[in-house]
């Protein structure tokens, strides 16, 4: 394979994994935008979605339906999980506690979901049946293009929803000013629950994209994926929706390129095992140069 083809291949791979990160990062950024909470359990929602796929894909196949339709079940399962976590764990803490206690509750929910999954399904990885099996296109995997396409469609749809629908506008209003939103007649807790439902639903779509590629589910799969998506959200500017999408794609491409080129470029001194370290270093550098993230703005408020 010549150099250019390899490079394009790596960019496309980067876009694939990046679109998975972008969808997860959207969930982080939406929740942060609306209640200023880093939902550390968000990564584990991907794991919940992946187990939902593991169980429903065979049912879909047995029923003679396309395997990917299992994603609708995963979306519902994830949305319910997200709303329950918000209602049972975060809302009571938000009413009484500080931001710090909410953050610790989020870490606790993450550990709880990981351990619950281990208790229920065991620690060994589960194989998921093939979800997509597309032919090669121009020498690239068709599955990759499909993953990128799903990511793009979901991101565009999400942006239109937030910009133009009444519920999307209410989400923006609540994220800016909860008291004023109440005065408008907006049910603030309802909109927060909706935000969790949508963010978790996006995580379910991300698990479809991920599982279609790697065919594997474990109870810990969400932790690294979630961490990288969190880095993506911060990189793009936490709380800023287009920032999460951009951050996800950037992280995906950086990871893919560093995996491919870091060993040859350093004469084997740094191996591709360091690609995660490079991803996190990029975050540190960007935050040093632009603390609010790539798309973050420090707008002065008019009084």
């Amino acid at each position: 394979m010549d150099g250019l083809t390899l490079f394009i291949q790596q960019i496309i791979n980067g876009l694939r994994v990046g679109s998975v990160y972008a969808l997860i990062a959207l969930g982080y950024t939406m929740v942060y935008g609306i209640i200023r909470l880093i939902n550390f359990a968000h990564g584990d929602f991907i794991m919940v979605g992946a187990y939902a796929l593991f169980f429903t894909v065979p049912l879909m196949i047995a029923a003679g339906m396309p395997a990917w339709m299992a994603v609708f079940v995963a979306i519902i399962v994830c949305a319910i999980t997200g709303v329950l976590v918000e209602k049972l764990a975060y809302r009571p803490v938000r009413a009484k506690g500080t931001n710090m206690s909410a953050l610790i509750t989020a870490i606790a929910m993450s550990l709880f979901l990981e351990n619950l999954a281990q208790t229920l399904f065991g620690a060994s990885p589960k194989q998921v049946k093939t979800i997509f099996d597309l032919p090669m296109i121009f020498g690239f995997s068709g599955n990759t293009f499909l993953t990128i396409a799903i990511g793009v469609v979901v991101m565009v749809g999400h942006s239109l929803f937030v910009k133009y629908t009444k519920a999307g506008q209410a989400m923006r209003a609540v994220s800016e000013d909860k008291s004023a939103s109440k005065l408008m007649g907006i049910n603030v807790n309802g909109i927060i629950a909706l935000t969790f439902a949508i963010g978790s639903g996006l995580a379910a779509i991300a698990s479809l994209m991920y599982v279609a590629q790697y065919n594997q589910v474990t109870n810990m799969m969400g932790s690294m994926l979630g961490l990288k998506a969190f880095v993506a959200a911060v990189l793009g500017g936490i709380g800023i929706i287009p920032g999460a999408m951009l951050g996800g794609l950037v992280i995906g491409i950086v990871e893919s390129l560093s995996k491919a080129y870091i060993a040859p470029l350093t004469g084997g001194l740094i191996t591709s095992a360091f690609s995660d370290a490079i991803v996190f270093s990029i975050l540190i550098v960007v935050l040093l140069v632009k603390p609010a993230g790539i798309m973050g703005k420090n707008i002065g408020e008019k009084v």
Partner: protein
């Protein structure tokens, strides 16, 4: 129309409102005047449900507001223009107005209301697509008022509409309040600028450290020596 009886509000250990009773009748402009920290804003927040009272009753058209969720109060016909405007500064003027009509379900009516607000505030129409945070203070006050009108309120709670505005703009805002009143909207006005507030009100209450110190006809209060000394600076 709006009736508050023996209202008590606490912020933790602080007893902010100590047994306030007041009435607003259909078609009136009633002002609540008093110094900074007297509890004027707290009373409005308690009426709108943002702050919960410790005891007392608040009824609006026979409905017990203390048992009504804040997001349901708007649909009863009460809108609140908060102190400091609180426009959604990252949203456009038009989106802000849409949020004001959140309680309405008919999109046609929302459109009509936007046209009506644009007619009353031509400046907002010129800036319909502008981000609200970039408006001047006076324009933001117009937007906050227009946004409250989007819900078709029968009563408007206005908190310090003159705050931070130049004397010319204060005049304009109060002219707008009088126009709204002439259109049949009842108004409960909270103001530190007692002179202007009393000049357009039918009745007024003077609040001092959480209690009503004086109440009565606005024109008579304007002549009262204590009011003149403490609030009118004469």
């Amino acid at each position: 129309m709006l009736s508050i009886k023996d209202l008590h509000v606490h912020y933790g250990a602080i007893h902010a409102i100590k047994g306030v009773s007041l009435e607003v009748n259909d078609g009136e402009i009633v002002s609540l005047i008093g110094a900074n920290g007297a509890g004027k804003t707290t009373i409005l927040h308690t009426v709108s449900g943002l702050v919960r009272a410790t005891s007392g009753t608040i009824t609006y058209d026979g409905v017990n507001l203390r048992a009504t969720a804040p997001n349901k109060i708007v649909s009863l016909g009460m809108a609140h223009v908060p102190e400091g405007r609180h426009v959604f500064s990252r949203m456009t003027v038009q989106e802000n107005l849409r949020m004001g009509a959140y309680s309405l379900s008919n999109p046609e009516q929302v459109k009509q209301n936007i046209e009506r607000v644009f007619k009353s505030f031509p400046r907002l129409k010129e800036r319909a697509r502008q981000i609200a945070g970039t408006l001047s203070g006076g324009e933001q006050q117009m937007l906050a008022t227009g946004r409250a009108l989007m819900a078709d309120p029968k009563i408007l709670l206005m908190d310090e509409p003159s705050m931070g505005l130049s004397p010319i703009l204060v005049k304009e805002i109060f002219r707008i309040i009088e126009t709204l009143h002439a259109k049949g909207i009842t108004i409960l006005l909270v103001e530190q600028n007692a002179k202007v507030a009393l000049s357009i009100s039918s009745r007024a209450y003077v609040l001092e450290t959480g209690s009503i110190a004086m109440a009565g006809n606005a024109a008579e209060l304007m002549e009262d020596d204590r009011v003149r000394k403490a609030y009118l600076g004469v």
